[in-house]
């Protein structure tokens, strides 16, 4: 033992005798993580969150979260001498006078965009592979919570500089709050400290943006990751992979090295974007005054679909008992997102109710093998995409010489028509892929070599696929439709027959699949 090792050993022993940490560390370090590129999407979220924390801290050193009026006297000529809020003026100073300030601002904003994009990509991976199933439902709900928090945190973040665009966003925010029946006006006055824009909102969302929400974020992310640790990571099916084991690299040294390196890769990509591409050029927007607005005012992309829903809503309002209910805001901005997020959070339970499957699952599904879920996912993506397209309707109209009215009508109709079409097409595609898998397993892969038989017939030579691949195509289990009879054993109609009927119908739809190759058929092939 070298002297260095001796010292390290002494320190470790000192700690172990007092904390009993050796067992825990050993157990933790021996944890194994499976390898797949899609398992790294969650890491992208975590690393961009770390970058957000660091760059955000830097920005707070100079940012002045105040709506008091100042006269700008900085270096940016086109705004010199204008009255603006201290928040806006200090953001200009960060951009132009703080060393590295503009780069840091851009890193913060690009990291936010990538953070949200990675959350969505991660969510889609978890959804399409069925990683949310028992025992991971709780972690799925935490993920939905993180997504929702991210939306709010992002909105507050780009609202802080108090430029013309962010003020426009806050105007819409206040309108959405006011759309709440009866209490909306009071809540809006309470939050903004008076009539919009008031003087209280920027300092308040500053506290939320830099302290409260990041605090909740840190706590939830910790639980989210600890649960992955504790419940172990899911893995894709394959030879030697079961519901009882995890195949992959141990934390030390391979996984740690890769993950540590990946942090710098994420940081590098974000820093690269921030160095070459401008984001949120607040000096061009100008300071916020309620009387001004710019054409093409858009929220950041993750809010764009909500904006698109509001833009397509027809002007519906009712007046009753001295109150106005603005359905055109209430439905697209509060009710629909409420349904979407609640539905997402509850989906694991809904699916397990439909399938009647209460077992634990640690092996992931190939999306094609669960056509109903995959189709539902694509349907939801289509819904959000139609809304997102309508959110940018003015940008699309000007850049592609289209009529904004026609885009709006396309979206109004498309939001109802396209998602079901996407559902049907996806389900068909999944079944076709299952059929292709079946053919591949039964007949082998096409080689492209043509053979002419003695009697003149041409055939293509097929080669049997590898054992690993054959296992992959055949190892999944196919769900069966639930057998729920409407009457009990004595022939009496069950209570809740309607619920059972719905469950049976859904279960039947969920179980639709191309029968996979059976053991019997496989044996026959081997005999050939």
């Amino acid at each position: 033992m070298t002297p260095v090792e001796k010292t390290i050993g002494k320190v470790a022993n000192f700690a172990d005798e007092r904390l009993g940490a050796a067992g825990w560390v050993k157990k933790s370090l021996n944890k194994v993580f499976p390898d797949h590129w899609s398992f790294m999407l969650g890491e992208v979220c975590m690393y961009s969150f770390v970058i957000l924390l660091l760059s955000g801290t830097f920005l707070t050193f100079w940012f002045d979260p105040s709506q008091r009026d100042v006269i700008y006297n900085g270096v940016y000529e086109p705004l010199k001498g204008l009255k603006m809020s201290a928040a806006y003026a200090s953001t200009l100073d960060i951009s132009f006078e703080v060393r590295g300030g503009l780069l840091m601002r851009q890193i913060h904003h690009w990291a936010a965009n990538i953070f949200m994009a990675a959350i969505v990509a991660h969510l889609l991976r978890v959804f399409f592979t069925g990683a949310f199933r028992k025992p991971r439902e709780f972690n799925w709900i935490l993920g939905i919570l993180l997504l929702t928090l991210g939306l709010v945190e992002g909105l507050f973040g780009y609202s802080l500089p108090d430029d013309l665009l962010s003020g426009t966003g806050l105007r819409i925010t206040s309108a959405i709050i006011q759309a709440l029946p009866v209490v909306g006006t009071y809540i809006s006055f309470f939050l903004f400290g008076g009539a919009f824009p008031g003087t209280g909102f920027i300092p308040r969302i500053f506290t939320l943006h830099i302290l409260i929400i990041p605090g909740i974020f840190l706590a939830v992310i910790t639980i989210h990751v600890m649960l992955v640790w504790y419940q172990k990571h899911t893995q894709f099916p394959g030879v030697g992979r079961t519901e009882k084991n995890v195949v992959g690299h141990p934390i030390l040294p391979v996984y740690m090295a890769k993950a540590g390196g990946f942090f710098f890769v994420v940081f590098g990509v974000i820093a690269f974007l921030s160095a070459v591409a401008s984001i949120n050029p607040i000096w061009l927007y100008g300071p916020y005054t309620p009387g001004q607005i710019s054409a093409g005012s858009q929220p950041d992309w993750y809010m764009g679909w909500l904006d698109g829903l509001v833009r397509m809503a027809p002007p519906l309002e009712t007046h009753a008992f001295g109150h106005t209910v603005s359905w055109n805001i209430l439905i697209p901005a509060l009710i629909v997102p409420g349904i979407v997020f609640t539905g997402m959070a509850l989906y694991p339970f809904i699916e397990s109710w439909i399938t009647g499957d209460k077992r634990e699952h640690h092996l992931l599904d190939r999306p094609r093998n669960v056509p109903n879920r995959t189709a539902l996912g694509v349907m939801s993506i289509t819904f959000v995409m139609v809304a997102l397209i309508n959110g940018g309707n003015d940008i699309l109209a000007t850049n592609f010489h289209l009529s904004i009215n026609q885009i709006m009508w396309f979206s109004r109709i498309g939001i109802f028509v396209l998602p079901p079409i996407a559902f049907v097409i996806t389900k068909r595609l999944c079944l076709s892929l299952q059929r292709a898998d079946r053919d591949l397993l039964l007949h082998g892969s096409e080689t492209g070599r043509l053979l002419r038989l003695p009697h003149g017939e041409f055939v293509e030579v097929h080669e049997p696929i590898s054992a690993e691949k054959a296992f992959l195509l055949q190892s999944h289990e196919q769900p069966l439709a639930l057998e729920i009879s409407e009457v009990d054993s004595r022939g009496v109609r069950r209570p809740g027959a309607l619920k059972n009927k719905v469950q049976r119908r859904l279960s039947k739809a969920h179980a639709v699949s191309v029968p996979k190759v059976s053991e019997q058929e496989l044996k026959e092939i081997e005999h050939h």
Binding site: N113, A118, A277, T398
Partner: protein
């Protein structure tokens, strides 16, 4: 006087007095108006009006009518003034390429001389806004950038976007980009209100303020890309697109590479 008053009831007195009065008024008028009209360009101008009329009859009258009185598909041009013609024809918007929602900027069909002739002809029909003189357009000297920016955000940004990049209007109409538009045309657009644009009269935005506007637009045009590539200066839509395509795209590519087994 007694001798004259003797004739005051003479039957020729009325007509003679009338003739004398007419002569006096006529002489005064001709002397007075001669001093105004006797400029050396009188003949050139009337020649330009004639030439403009010929061009108008050939190129414009099929829609705007033989006497510029307008028709079912084109407005009357009586009283629109020289500035309007200079803007519409000088930027190539007129003659229109097709009957789409809006005339777009393109290569002018008529050269500067022909455009001037057309403008002179239309201006001769009825008074209207004149083409601003170059001496009026000294925005570098008379404009104020910051004031112009404030005016722009108050009056123009809602259609032309915060950086003058243009924006969408209803039914396929649009507010065009202001980048690369000559100061003269910006000024003319302000005083004539082409297509969907409102007129910003000198009472709404004073001539000095118009110059500030132009100065701000020119400074926005010349502004270096301070934060890197601007992606069109049209707000977060292109930013989101880049975050997904380049940001997540690159990261997924690297993740795939990192998890590829060495062979």
């Amino acid at each position: 006087m007694k001798r004259l008053s003797r004739y005051r009831r003479h039957k020729a007195a009325g007509p003679v007095l009338l003739i004398i009065a007419l002569l006096a008024i006529g002489t005064t008028f001709s002397v007075a108006s001669a001093t105004v009209k006797q400029s050396p360009t009188t003949f050139a101008r009337s020649a330009a009006i004639d030439e403009g009329k010929q061009i108008f009859l050939k190129g414009c009258s099929s829609c705007h009518g033989l006497n510029a009185e307008g028709g079912s598909i084109a407005p009357s041009l009586i009283g629109v003034g020289a500035a309007s013609v200079d803007f519409q024809v000088g930027t190539g918007r007129m003659p229109m390429a097709d009957m789409s929602q809006q005339a777009m900027r393109k290569k002018p069909v008529y050269n500067a001389e022909q455009t001037a002739a057309l403008a002179a002809y239309v201006a001769s029909l009825a008074p209207g806004p004149a083409i601003p003189d170059d001496s009026v357009l000294n925005y570098e000297r008379d404009g104020n950038t910051a004031q112009g920016g404030e005016l722009f955000r108050n009056n123009c940004a809602m259609c032309h976007n915060f950086a003058g990049q243009g924006g969408a209007l209803t039914q396929g109409k649009y507010a065009p980009t202001l980048m690369g538009v000559e100061p003269k045309y910006i000024y003319e657009a302000l005083i004539t209100g082409p297509q969907s644009m409102p007129v910003f009269s000198d009472k709404t935005i004073t001539p000095a303020e118009k110059l500030s506007l132009i100065k701000w637009i020119k400074s926005a045009e010349a502004e270096p890309n301070l934060g890197g590539a601007t992606m069109g200066r049209i707000g977060p839509v292109t930013e989101g697109l880049l975050a997904w395509i380049l940001g997540i795209g690159l990261l997924i590519g690297i993740a795939v590479w990192l998890t590829t087994r060495a062979r």
